[in-house]
Amino acid sequence: SQTIHQWPATLVQPVGSPLSLECTVEGTSNPNLYWYRQAAGRGLQLLFYSVGIGQISSEVPQNLSASRPQDRQFILSSKKLLLSDSGFYLCAWTPGQGNQPQHFGDGTRLSIL
């Protein structure tokens, strides 16, 4: 069966520090991968999605970037974190052929001090 892993589960970082959150999917090939952010009191905002290695689409202009160095690995990064980057970050995947619901990881709670 397919599983999705995100780490770390929680992270506290100072303003201006770099960020790297990792997501990996097991048990499937060529998945579509997604990064979402849930800010306090708000819904799930799509940040990035990828349909293949090295293919990244950005949904909103922001301080973050994403990379997909391997088929089942999706990384969310920042060179310098802002206070506004605080939130709950979620990775998700769907089978590459589409018409399927997204399946989410357990998320990373990021707090910027």
Binding site: Q6, N32, Y36, R42, G43, L44, Q45, L46, Y49, V51, E59, F88, L90, A92, T94, G98, N99, P101, Q102, H103, F104, G105, D106, G107, R109
Partner: protein, 113 residues
């Protein structure tokens, strides 16, 4: 522009009664609709979906109704149980375009003993 709207931030329902969660959308090209359930500090869990060619889909205690003319869908949970207390997200996508799923802001459901 919020394409998927959940206008009730919270809802309280007596255990054993029916819970009805509502969702409206604005994009007439959406053809696939989903409901997710989310507990605190966890990723959303897929509950049930419906294609635009149907007006009802049922899975156990969960039924989703779709009214395309009104651009409205609802999730019925009957009977409501204490474990149903969570945040419920409505989501929609245009499968002819891409696999991006647009989420509403969520409704927090409280099941009262």
């Amino acid at each position: 522009d919020q394409q998927v709207k959940q206008n009730s931030p919270s809802l309280s329902v007596q255990e054993g009664r029916i819970s009805i969660l509502n969702c409206d959308y604005t994009n007439s090209m959406f053809d696939y609709f989903l409901w997710y359930k989310k507990y605190p500090a966890e990723g959303p869990t897929f509950l049930i979906s419906i294609s635009s060619i149907k007006d009802k889909n049922e899975d156990g205690r969960f039924t989703v109704f779709l009214n395309k003319s009104a651009k409205h869908l609802s999730l019925h949970i009957v009977p409501s149980q204490p474990g149903d207390s969570a945040v419920y997200f409505c989501a929609a996508s245009d499968r002819n375009r891409d696999d991006k799923i647009i989420f509403g802001k969520g409704t927090r459901l409280h099941i009262l003993p």
